[in-house]
């Protein structure tokens, strides 16, 4: 499955109230089934990019193609059927009175017959482990539960692309891990294309590719290990410095030679073990 699913070229956008372009002449291609992480500091234009891809904003210049179809006002609604978005703040995206009705909202909009809807709502909620909460009011769920429900609403639609805009930012570490694992399964088993906008290095390291945006400009588009190689400079790109890089720097202070290239945490453990054995 090497065909491109998202093709963005020369994309620019400016909010009317702002002087500066929020996104400027951006080119990006994502292949079907890929997992791409988008990183950048606060206000760098990540959410703006997501909204442009979903046709929620209209670009000044440039084009977006989804599965070979150009995004225009005619194709807009068909294209949206291919894209599921999970937003930063789950509270502001619930429409339904209870969990199952909320998950059904997107299906209702697409005119899915009721019998199918019932089955799809159920299986989506089961896949995020929230079927037991079907009758609960969304507002009274915990942060992590809300984010699962939001995700179920997307899964039920069976889109080709899932865009998560800092969808795990409000969670405790365990809740975050669970959601990321869930997405990973969807990506690997069901072949969903995933775009995850994040400040979390662990989430970014799961991606096949990391795209770095700085003040509306795409500055890097590469494998995670190559992006993480930048070490301390990463913090300017809205990502934490990888733990192994921090540790390397600290160890260096003790006059110990450390390898230049980026190491994962596992790689770091292996390297330390080799080092100590050689002694």
């Amino acid at each position: 499955m090497e065909e491109p699913i998202i093709e963005i070229s020369d994309l620019s956008f400016k909010y009317p109230q702002q002087k500066r372009e929020a996104l400027s002449h951006l080119d990006l291609t994502v292949t079907s089934g890929e997992w791409v992480a988008v990183i950048g500091h606060n206000g760098s234009g990540k959410s703006t990019l997501a909204k442009l891809v979903d046709g929620l904003l209209v670009p000044e210049t440039g084009t977006v193609k989804i599965a070979g179809v150009s995004l225009t006002s005619e194709t807009l609604w068909d294209i949206r059927k291919n894209i599921g978005m999970v937003f930063q703040n789950p509270d502001n995206q619930f429409v339904g009175a209870n969990v199952e009705e909320d998950v059904a909202f997107g299906l209702e909009n697409q005119g899915v017959p009721r019998e199918q809807m019932i089955e799809r709502v159920r299986s989506a909620l089961e896949s995020v482990g929230m079927w037991d909460f079907a009758q609960h009011e969304p507002a009274r769920l915990s942060g992590g539960q809300k984010q699962r429900v939001a995700l179920a609403g997307v899964i039920a639609l069976r889109p080709k692309i899932i865009i998560m805009d800092e969808a795990t930012s409000m969670l405790d570490p365990e809740g975050r891990k669970e959601i990321i694992q869930l997405i990973k399964n969807l990506n690997q088993k069901n072949g969903f294309t995933v775009i995850s906008i994040t400040h979390d290095i662990e989430e970014a390291s799961l991606a096949e590719r990391v795209v770095v945006i700085d003040d509306g400009v795409l500055v890097q588009n590469d494998k995670p290990e190559n992006v993480f190689q930048r070490g301390a400079a990463l913090i300017e790109s809205g990502l934490d410095i990888p733990f192994s890089e921090k540790l390397k720097n600290e160890i260096k202070n003790y006059g110990i030679e450390v390898p230049q290239e980026y190491l994962t945490e596992k790689g770091m453990v292996d390297w330390l073990c080799q080092f100590i054995s050689k002694k």
Binding site: R80, F87, N89, N92, V95, Q110, V112, G153
Partner: protein
């Protein structure tokens, strides 16, 4: 039937008890007509006063019971659904019934959120030394501003986010939508209707008595 305990209704009545008593006493002592039982200056105790008083009392208690029951047992969207089916006939004359009821239901859905938000902002401002509901009238009016502005800003942001999310989820008006929820009429519903029809008759009877 509703799973809401009786003592809970009483709690709902309690804050209003003085208002109710005051109105009832007003009715009882200032109504004229019917048999006069007792009189002192402008005050009089007459048969129609007693009837009016009990009528007002019943009305109050019923309103409180009903509204407590409705908000506790029925989710806002269900209220909106009910509105939609009641307004159903209007569809024929091209009233955007679906849109109106969705708007209504979202407004209703945000009532609890708005209340939470109000509470949060009040707490934040209390921590900055505001005393809500204390001090002179001027002070009280002044203390409303630090509450209202943040509330307005957050509601506005929320509304914008929600509109974006709904659009992203493919919402484009009532055309071509299917419905997930269906309603069933149960024996209890029939019973409730009968009871309330009965009460209505009694009240009407009391009034024309």
């Amino acid at each position: 039937m509703s799973g809401v305990s009786f003592s809970f209704f009483l709690k709902g009545v309690r804050p209003l008890i003085w208002l109710i008593l005051f109105t009832v006493l007003l009715q009882v002592f200032f109504s004229r007509g019917g048999t006069v039982y007792w009189q002192f200056g402008p005050l009089s105790l007459t048969s129609s006063g007693v009837i009016n008083g009990s009528y007002v009392f019943c009305r109050f208690v019923l309103i409180i019971f009903m509204s407590t029951l409705l908000t506790l047992t029925t989710a806002p969207l269900e209220i909106a659904d009910a509105m939609e089916s009641l307004m159903g006939p209007l569809k024929k004359i091209k009233v955007p019934v679906y849109e109106i009821s969705l708007m209504l239901s979202i407004a209703l859905r945000f009532v609890p959120t708005l209340m939470d938000e109000t509470e949060k902002i009040m707490n934040a401002q209390r921590s900055r030394g505001v005393n809500f509901g204390e001090g002179s009238i001027v002070q009280q009016i002044k203390s409303v501003i630090p509450l209202l502005i943040p509330l307005f800003v957050s509601s506005f942001n929320r509304a914008e986010d929600l509109a974006t999310a709904m659009e992203a989820r493919g919402y484009r008006g009532g055309e071509g939508r299917t419905k997930y929820r269906v309603h069933f009429w149960r024996l209890n519903d029939t019973l409730a209707c009968v009871v309330f029809a009965f009460l209505t008759v009694i009240l009407l009877g009391l009034r024309n008595w």
